[in-house]
Amino acid sequence: MAIETEPGTTQHPGGGQPAGGAARRPWWMRPAIHTGLIGAVIGYAFGHWLGNLIASGYQQVGTSDQNDTAIVLGYLFMVIGWLAGLGVFNDLFKQMAGRRLAEAENGNGPGGLAQYFRFHLDHKVVGIQYLVGMIIYFCTAGLLAMGIRTELLSPVHHVFSSATYIEIVGEHGTMMMMLMTSVILGPFGNYLIPIMIGSKRVAYPRLEALSFWLTPAAFMILLSALLLGGFHMGWTGYPTLSIQDTSGADAYAFAFGLMGISMTLAGFNILVTVICYRAPGMRWSRLPMFVWGILGTAVMMALAAPVLSGGMYMLLTDRTVQTAFFTDQLGGSTYLWEDVFWFFGHPEVYILALPGFGIVCELLPVFTRKPLFGYKVAAAGMIGVTLLSFFVWQHHLFDSGINPDMRPLYMLTTEMISIPTGFIFLVGMGTLWKAKIRFTVPMLFCFAFFFNFLIGGISGVFNSDAPADVTEHGSFFVMAHFHYTIMGGLIFAFMGGCYYWLPKMMGIKLNEKLGYWHFWLMFLGFNSTFMPLFAVGWLGQPRRVFEYALRLQTLNDWVSISSYVLGFSILLFVINFVWSTVVTRVRETGNPWESRGLEWQIPSPPPAYNFEHVPVVLSGPYEYGSEGSEPVADLNPPVGVLAAAFSGSETARAEA
């Protein structure tokens, strides 16, 4: 078994497990991934049959020989079957029938490896499920990127056809942009946030678990697009191409919409958990920066992702029941798509960036042994980024017919967002100033984050300028910019988080030597891949085209070879992950980084219910280097303190 947690890690109180009594049945009868797969197959077959029954007589089905209704209903019932097979609806039906839910102690079922293949209500299990899932999704999308770079080795000799190439580009972009939104919030947010705020549970464990189990469905549906002819409009899905495209576009819209629901649920659960389940003493001014980062991300997810799902739903109705949301000739408008899509799409950039900032702000004080420089400034920066992220989306329309009078406004709002981002950046630099830095693997990833994000951020300010944007639009310059912010920021922070928190989550430390190799290869490979792409873009190479000017071949070859190094570095991480957690399994149960974080004050991996008693938080998490600073929390507070904390009585609080 690769992953260890204490047995019986359940939600408490009020967190009954689904399908109570499941442990008494033979394993193949228990709701788990295999029953989910059976449900999915049955559901797809039924939905497809129903779609054919309903829509086979439709005029457009006859003329195009393509029944999108059958495909979409197939996906819909497949997801329902998948969730039903996993036992997601069991508790709902029980409640509808007036039966009480099994209490946490009764229905947890077996622990061990099997729990990771079930709809499980423990936030720690969900966190690990997310972690493994995200690594799989990331590697799949990364392999597609390798395919893209292989094709671009030569402008004249082709590995793929032009159609296949654009399908791969679309798959890669969509998979990264839709699934990697949860790459930090999913594993680290779900696992660590409750512990970091001193809680034994999350607010809505069922929704949290559901948010994860929707991601494999979205992943498989998106991959299935390749079997349906792919989709050719890239990850942004612009009509009219997305309406006219092959059935692969159904997979795109359905998967992306489904992921929107997953994001909404994940964000909703995190928000309520942080607001309502903080331990006594965990004031807003004591929240770890990682929690602030995830909180901002959750706000954006909760408010922007529903619009994405709405847009994808409109696209699906256009493709199936022939509404005309995005067809100008019938009273719709393609601009409607651009507005709806980018209202999600731009906050998404910060959905991807903020958790990374949260991680580096969390790690810097640990490895500099200094308090975080400007805690309130960093928190304000995160709030500022969250709010401003909803006011910039029109810059994506600079080149597609936006009223020219609106350009200055959105130039201004876009440039303004660099101010709160700069706050966080300066907090990082201030923390590093005159520090005795410990150059551990997680810390190196933090350095890389700042280096990469600086390049991504500055090129972003450049792009936000309308005249510059008009010049660079659609070129590799823009592509290099967003890879610097997203991969250079988010994924480097994710890797730093993995090395930092895996000893906490699994009780096992990743091999350090392999970690250094991984870091240097990834850092050099990444910069060697994407830095030249700025030049490639300036020299005029457009995105999404598989042929290019011969004079750009040397640069492209350099980039492609560098991308293989980058790919190898990720492979090295996977090897390290498997090697350390499955083969060598060097135990690390204490606090290897000497961190003041609340999560490090309990054993690794955390026991059932996280804390033996509800802790009382006494001081902030970053008071390093100051003599006589209070411990971060009292993990065994005297009886009466807790009651006083929520009684609302000032006298009782004072007495306690």
Binding site: G14, Q95, G310, M314, Q322, A324, L330
Partner: protein, 222 residues
Amino acid sequence: MAEMTSAGPAGLSRRQEEEAFYHEAALNATWTGTRLMIGILVSAIGCFIFAFFYLRSLNSHNDWYPAGFTGPKQWQGAVIMALIVVSALLQSAGLTQIKAGRRGAWLGAATVALVLGVVGGALQIWQLTVLPFQPGASGFASVFVGTQPVIIALVLGTMIWLEILLVRARGIPEISFVEQPPTFAEAADVQRFQASLSALTLFWNFVALTELVFWVLFYLIH
């Protein structure tokens, strides 16, 4: 709800204290979660309201609501909207009854509210099958056909929630709504039920308001 549990926490054992702490947190989560979920749904529904006004103002090819276009029947929209709004009002009235300790009165009101809500949702489904226009006939037609299933899902989803509460209420002794139950577990059960019921009522009112807003958009403004 806070005051209900804050009465005399002193003297509790550690386990009881923690149970009370998480019970309080759960009540707060119900309150916060409902309001947050309404915010999320405003965002989702706002997407369709935006589409309505955006396409209406663009009026591409004069095809937002072309001359001679026959919209959905006024009476159908009015009946559906009225059913949902009356259902929400009934539930609100029922809530005041149960807060006053009259469970029976709430059960009656909530059962009627449930029936009206389900009938309203069913009528909306039926209406989609008898529309006098094709989904892509105009911009208006697209927004109408696209929005209705979302509202139907909201209505029926809320009715499932109401049904669960109706069933759950039967398991709680009537006296518990009048007097403080003898044990903490029973008291917590009642408080959670009441918190959930308050949340449902707020949510159902929000859905009714949504229905009203779209009725104004589709039948009065279009």
